[in-house]
């Protein structure tokens, strides 16, 4: 029903366009330049593309040095290495001095598939959102990945952007607005709010349709493409208007987007029932993307069940 496309393709294409528009854009990669789709930038602007080899800690430090010299730096590798291997470098060399580095990771989440747990980064949102000065963006689809690339390039501060490996449904329109820090309402509803981020937004839309057709439940769907800073107004408003929240993310539920939202709600005046859909605090395993989504609780069905749970607790 939806057209499919890869988020990282959008990122790579947007980078090339950005490179044409702005001379200060430079790209740093760590031997995964093809996989991360930054190779095309390197083909067009070889003098502005640096491959550090399999050395993510150095990649992060070099990015800091380039940013300190006035460059807008895009630093790309797989999520597991960008945030895990180089965590201390991200913390000390980029976040603390608040440098203009965009850490754009691909292959985030369990849908990496066959590579297994070693490459399925399920903790990156937690690691990045806890860092002071860091902003975290997880676009929902191809169009948003493209728009987010332009949007974060405009803001002179550190960003972590999380992209997946696989083709995912295109659920937004090319000319929909994209503002960092603003959630978008994809479907209005009165009974419960489904808040998704990244590739789980399309599952929320599917879940909303099932809830409507099979259960007569009118669910609102919110696309939380910026995880930090969270759009608190829109979270609180959804809680007030619908009285229940389900969050969905391709990440461990502990300390992910859903945790952030639960914290916002706990300190608000709307203590509504809530359920977080995501991966329990476990490592993944090899398998096909759809098999893993099913086994680890990330499908529309799981969101529907959670919505019922929330409705019953109301």
């Amino acid at each position: 029903m939806w057209e499919m496309a890869k988020q990282r393709d959008a990122y790579g294409e947007a980078l090339v366009e950005l490179g044409r528009e702005k001379d200060d854009i430079v790209v740093v990669g760590a031997d995964l330049c093809g996989s991360c789709r930054v190779k095309e930038f390197g083909s067009e602007f070889p003098e502005r593309m640096f491959n550090v080899g399999i050395a993510e800690q150095n990649m992060t430090g070099v990015s800091a040095g380039l940013a300190l010299s006035g460059k807008t730096v895009f630093s790309s590798t797989f999520a597991v290495f960008a945030t895990g291997r180089a965590y201390d470098q991200v913390r000390q060399s980029i976040a603390y001095p608040e440098l203009n580095v965009k850490i754009v990771s691909t292959h985030a989440g369990i849908t990496v598939g066959g590579d297994g747990a070693s490459h399925q980064m399920l903790e990156d949102i937690a690691l990045m959102r806890v860092l002071p000065n860091m902003n975290v963006v997880a676009p929902a689809d191809y169009h948003e990945s493209r728009k987010a690339t332009f949007a974060i390039a405009e803001k002179e501060r550190p960003f972590y952007m999380r992209l997946g490996r696989s083709s995912v449904p295109i659920i937004t329109e090319e000319d929909d607005p994209f503002d960092v820090g603003k959630a978008t309402v994809l479907k209005e509803g009165e009974d419960v709010t489904l808040i998704g981020t990244g590739i789980m937004v399309s599952e929320c839309l599917k879940a909303a349709e099932k809830l409507d057709k099979q259960h007569g439940v009118d669910a609102k769907v919110l696309n939380m493409s910026t995880i930090k800073p969270l759009d608190e107004d829109s979270i609180v408003k959804s809680a007030r208007d619908t009285g229940g929240i389900v969050t969905a993310e391709e990440h461990v539920v502990s300390q992910g987007m859903g945790s952030g939202i639960s914290q916002v709600l706990a300190e608000s005046n709307y203590h509504v029932p809530m359920k977080r859909v995501g991966i329990p605090n476990v490592f993944g395993e090899s398998g096909e993307s759809d098999e893993l989504m099913e086994k680890y609780g990330l499908t529309a069905e799981h969101i529907v069940e959670s919505a019922h749970d929330v409705l019953e607790r109301r």
């Binding site: 003098e47 150095n58 040095g65 201390d88 060399s93």
Partner: protein, 284 residues
């Protein structure tokens, strides 16, 4: 072959002496800090800021300035001493080191201190930052140079060797690194904790131009940078043989003062050794 006039050497040595006074006084006032490694690097930093580097204290962000990354960030008291002497901020401010609200953080922070070019302190990271800066200079066809000061224990860190590979691969001849070879790290001698020798062979094998000097000799420090500049297509590392705690006899070669400040009594002895007699101890 010396390029420095005798009077210039004396002038630099006097500034380095004052930097050392700042180190012992400011860490004493703070009640903590790393005097040992600050004193070993004091001559290097003095030579850099008062003879070698092209910079403007009245315009800390001058785009064409030479940069310095103090990769061994715990030597911040010496860096602050040199920056204050150069006029980046008032010398009185040195006594706010490590105190709440101070611009002088325990380890260098680019956002708070005028003249500081990079935030460092987590060892092993500064060389990558310096390499990124040197790369940017090449990209922009700018002639500024990037200097880094690394600790000897610090090169046990893997990221140093990632950066070493990167700098030679990219032919960063505008990157000049001083290795403060004072032979000690917090747990003991570098060779006992985790031997880093043979250093020259290692850096040569990584494609670097390697020089070796006596790191408390102003002429040798300045000459080494000139020799580094004559080499094209290769970064240079200058192994500077130093003494931890240099200038304060009871701190020299001592592990005890790696991460501990002199108390008030010790400060008096230290200041006397540094030829600073009529000074108020304690700073208040």
């Amino acid at each position: 072959m010396s390029t420095l006039e005798e009077s210039k050497v004396e002038e630099l040595e006097e500034i380095a002496r004052r930097v050392r006074v700042h180190v012992v006084k400011s860490t004493n006032e703070a009640g903590s800090g790393h005097p040992g490694g600050s004193l070993s690097a004091a001559d290097l930093l003095t030579a850099l800021y008062f003879e070698i580097m092209d910079h403007k204290p009245e315009e800390p962000d001058w785009p064409k300035r030479d940069r310095l990354v103090l990769s061994k960030g715990h030597a911040a008291p010496a860096l602050y001493g040199a920056l204050a002497e150069a006029g980046y901020f008032p010398k009185e401010e040195l006594m706010t080191l490590r105190k709440l609200g101070s611009r002088l953080q325990g380890h260098p922070h680019v956002k708070t201190t005028p003249g500081v070019d990079a935030s460092t302190g987590s060892l092993g990271q500064g060389l990558s930052i310096a390499a990124g800066m040197a790369l940017a200079a090449k990209l922009d066809r700018e002639s500024y140079r990037v200097f880094a000061v690394c600790g000897d224990g610090e090169i046990q860190s893997g990221q140093i060797w990632e950066a070493a590979m990167f700098a030679s691969h990219n032919k960063l001849d505008n990157l000049i690194v001083f290795l403060d070879r004072n032979n000690l790290q917090i747990d003991g001698s570098t060779e006992e904790v985790m031997s880093i020798e043979p250093i020259i062979t290692k850096w040569s094998a990584f494609g670097w131009h390697v020089l070796e000097i006596e790191g408390h000799d102003m002429e040798q420090i300045v000459d080494a940078v000139q020799r580094a500049e004559e080499v094209h297509g290769q970064p240079t590392i200058i192994i500077a043989h130093t003494i931890k705690g240099k200038g304060v006899p009871f701190m020299e070669g001592s592990l005890a003062f790696h991460g501990k400040a002199a108390d008030d009594e010790q400060l008096e002895v230290a200041l006397e050794a540094l030829g600073e007699k009529d000074d108020e101890v304690g700073g208040d």
